[in-house]
């Protein structure tokens, strides 16, 4: 057991550090942001320029094999890079779906032509990808999706509606899951496609979130034509393709659920007064800080354990479901505690109260989304109960019936 770098890791860290110092600006505070003041188009252009530099240096796909355009490094090197990059101002989540979800799926299931065509431009940031998976009637029950893919010669004609598609309004490409066979049971008969987002028939509309933000979209598909050469993986195997996507995502999510909310709580509690003394001296506040640390750093440690397993060629398994379950809750509880520190004044939104309140307030209002997106609390618990603990799956009547007969 060793938290220190191996000599190779230390060398790589130093190299990365030098490169970052030469190519990016160091972060001075939590509120310091890449591209502050830019509009969306300018921000995307700056993000792409950054990603191109990063790809040129070989850091866009550190753990991917060289044959795929990667650096051929170890997962540990990927972690080292991430730790160092976090200290600098870099684009926030623009390439997360591209490089964390879509491209790994293309790398795993794509034809040589598809890989040739899509991997490098995505690494460089020329192409940004989105993932067209969820539908209004297919959230937790993704197998229930109804977007229809009908074969027409060498093409497929796609119609339906997707929802919660992050980045669809600026992505060039998407992976798209649709039902190509209505006579098979629900999780069969699905096929995955690569879709050019400029194809006629695609209508992207932003979703107004409960947090008053617009990070997601509804995507309406109306007779969208996709050549069969853009099919990703075998016809009817879309479910399997998607599971491999989600497995990637589950692990990548881990990092989103750690964080330093507990440190923010300390600062805010020092600046708040309870009964004439700093709130940080109150025993319940201190217990809340301790609990935030236990959850957030606990999640980080579980992810590090998973990383160590990857380093040894093992696969971190379904037990990673605990990460999201615990992490999203930590946002909800810790965010609420931060807001409570100020009493009535804590109800003033950060725009008027001060930048240091922005993140905790945002965590609080977006925590309900975090508990739903990427698999609800209940889905995570089912995963643990069934895949880790070996408990029986829920009795189902819909698993083996032709999908056609399930539609109401």
């Amino acid at each position: 057991m060793d938290f220190n770098d191996t000599p190779q890791e230390a060398d790589f860290r130093a190299e990365v550090r030098r490169w970052l110092e030469a190519n990016a600006t160091e972060r001075r505070s939590r509120e310091d942001k890449f591209g502050a003041g830019l509009n969306e188009a300018e921000y995307l252009a700056a993000a792409r320029a950054w990603q191109a530099r990063k790809a040129a240096a070989g850091y866009a796909a550190i753990a991917a094999p060289k044959a795929m355009g990667g650096l051929g490094g170890t997962p540990a090197m990927q972690v080292v890079y991430g730790q160092e990059e976090a200290k600098f101002l870099v684009p926030d989540r623009v390439f997360e779906i591209s490089l964390g979800t879509a491209i790994p799926t293309v790398a795993m299931w794509g034809t040589p032509e598809q890989k040739e065509k899509y991997l490098a431009p995505a690494f460089r940031g020329d192409h940004i990808w989105c993932a067209l998976l969820s539908e209004p009637s297919a959230g937790s029950d993704l197998g229930n999706l109804r977007t229809r893919a009908t074969r027409d010669g060498d093409e497929w004609v796609i119609s339906g509606q997707k929802v919660w598609t992050s980045g669809a309004h600026f992505a060039q490409f998407g992976i798209l899951l649709a039902r190509s066979d209505w006579d098979s049971p629900k999780s069969k008969g699905l096929t995955m496609f690569i879709v050019d987002m400029k194809t006629p028939g695609i209508d992207v509309r932003p979703i107004h979130q409960a947090s008053d933000e617009y990070h997601f979209n509804e995507v309406f598909l109306n007779d969208v034509r996709i050549p069969d050469s853009q099919r990703l993986g075998p016809e009817g195997q879309g479910w399997k393709v998607m599971l491999s996507t989600l497995m990637q995502e589950r692990f990548a999510l881990g990092n989103n659920f750690s964080g330093d909310l507990y440190a923010q709580l300390i600062g805010l509690a020092q600046a708040s007064q309870w009964n004439g003394a700093p709130a940080v001296e109150n025993a319940t506040v201190r217990a809340g800080i301790a609990d935030a640390y236990i959850r957030q750093f606990g999640v980080e440690l579980i992810v590090r354990r998973g990383m160590s397993a990857i380093s040894k060629g093992e696969n971190p398994g379904p037990e990673m479901a605990a990460v999201k379950l615990v992490g999203a809750r930590a946002f909800q509880t810790g965010g609420a505690l931060a807001i409570e520190l100020g009493g009535a004044e804590g109800l003033i939104a950060a725009q008027d109260l001060g930048a240091e309140w922005r993140l905790p307030q945002l965590l609080w209002i977006s925590a309900p989304g975090a508990r739903i997106a990427g698999g609800t609390d209940e889905i995570q618990k089912n995963t643990i109960a069934e895949q880790v603990l070996g408990l029986p799956a829920e009795a189902r009547t819909d698993r083996d019936m032709p999908f056609r007969e399930l539609v109401h």
Binding site: S134, H208, Q273, G343, G346, I348
Partner: protein
């Protein structure tokens, strides 16, 4: 012993509910949420016309002359419909303080106009022992009010403010020279906040009786009344979620048939039952001015804050993705639960109040 509201009170509650359900719709609340209005004038007008604003104000002062039990039921319905109106500041706090601490002239000057809704008051009469501001302080000397106070509910629309300044209760006309108001973005935009500064503004004292003990008593009453708003809101979210899970299907069945969903709703129900029980006890203690009021009010506030927070968080969660959109009302309850739960001090502060009351009684 009869631990229940009377049939007359129940009929009154139903009438209020009927009107508020018609008037304080989601669309109406959203005019405030989206910033098009600072409060729902229509809801306010309807409550005034019903006699609900003056329900605990004597008839000779323009009120309906009923009492606090009836006001509790109005609060429950306002909470249920997310009513975007200054009930807390104008009715639960300002009117109650003026009733107890105002001279005959002050009472007859303000209470009839508060009761008919023409005058809106904002008020802060708790000592704000949880605070961020170091420079927030008011002084009142020689009839002049000076200083700043932040996070005033309804501060932009109020005609007057009732404030606890050191050990005195002060009423100030906000149209007077020297008053500066700044809107403050609120985590529940349907319940706006403001910062007010006073530069030697002429103000009058509400000087009948002991200001500190009146302020304390009215604050305890407000805790009970907010508990009714919270219970109303919590129950609304419980049944909205219940209705949704009976419609939404996944894995071949309505999701309301999944045990995890059922048990979550049962937990919400149990929390609300406990909160309701304490709210009722608080109502009795307030209405009879019982010695149990401090612990009854504190318990009502804590239990109701916990119940509404749970119901709003889990009610949204049970809606899944759609619950996380601006168009659904789930986030309005989440925001309102937080606003109601903090505006007169958080559950932490009120747990301490409750503990202190219990330990005091045990001594």
């Amino acid at each position: 012993m009869n631990f229940d509201f009377s049939e007359d009170q129940r009929r009154l509650q139903e009438e209020v509910r009927r009107v508020l359900t018609d008037v304080s719709t989601s669309a109406e609340v959203r005019t405030v949420l989206d910033g098009a209005a600072a409060y729902s004038a229509k809801t306010w007008r309807n409550l005034a016309d019903l006699g609900a604003l003056g329900i605990a104000i004597p008839e000779n002062l323009g009120g309906t002359g009923l009492g606090h039990l009836e006001l509790c039921l109005v609060a429950e319905e306002a909470g249920r419909t997310l009513a975007a109106v200054p009930l807390l500041s104008s009715i639960y706090l300002a009117a109650e303080v003026i009733k107890l601490a105002g001279s005959e002239a002050q009472k007859s000057d303000w209470l009839p106009r508060i009761a008919n809704g023409d005058v809106i008051a904002t008020a802060v009469i708790d000592p704000r022992t949880q605070t961020l501001a170091k420079d927030q302080s008011l002084t009142f000397a020689n009839g002049a009010l000076t200083g700043m106070i932040d996070a005033l509910p309804d501060g932009m629309v109020a005609n007057i403010a009732v404030l606890l300044v050191d050990d005195r209760l002060v009423l100030v006309d906000l149209a007077a020279p020297g008053v500066t108001r700044t809107p403050r973005a609120s985590l529940d935009p349907s319940r706006p906040l403001a910062k007010l500064t006073f530069a030697g503004v002429a103000a009058e004292e509400l000087a009948m009786g002991n200001a500190t003990s009146i302020a304390r008593r009215v604050t305890l009453g407000a805790a009970v009344l907010l508990a009714f708003e919270q219970v109303g809101g919590a129950e609304r979210t419980l049944y909205a979620a219940r209705d949704y899970v009976l419609e939404r299907r996944a894995f071949g069945r309505v999701i309301g048939s999944f045990q995890s969903v059922k048990h979550k709703l049962a937990d919400m129900f149990a929390a609300i039952e406990v909160a309701r029980a304490h709210a009722w006890f608080g109502a009795w203690a307030m209405a009879t001015d019982a010695t149990e009021l401090p612990r009854a009010a504190a318990a009502a506030r804590v239990a109701a804050t916990d119940a509404y927070t749970l119901a709003a968080e889990e009610g949204l969660h049970l809606h899944g993705g759609i619950g996380y959109t601006w168009e659904m009302d789930c986030h309005m309850h989440l925001r309102r639960a937080r606003w109601l739960g903090q505006i007169i001090g958080t559950h932490h502060l009120w747990r301490e109040t409750l503990a202190a009351a219990l330990i005091g009684e045990a001594a």
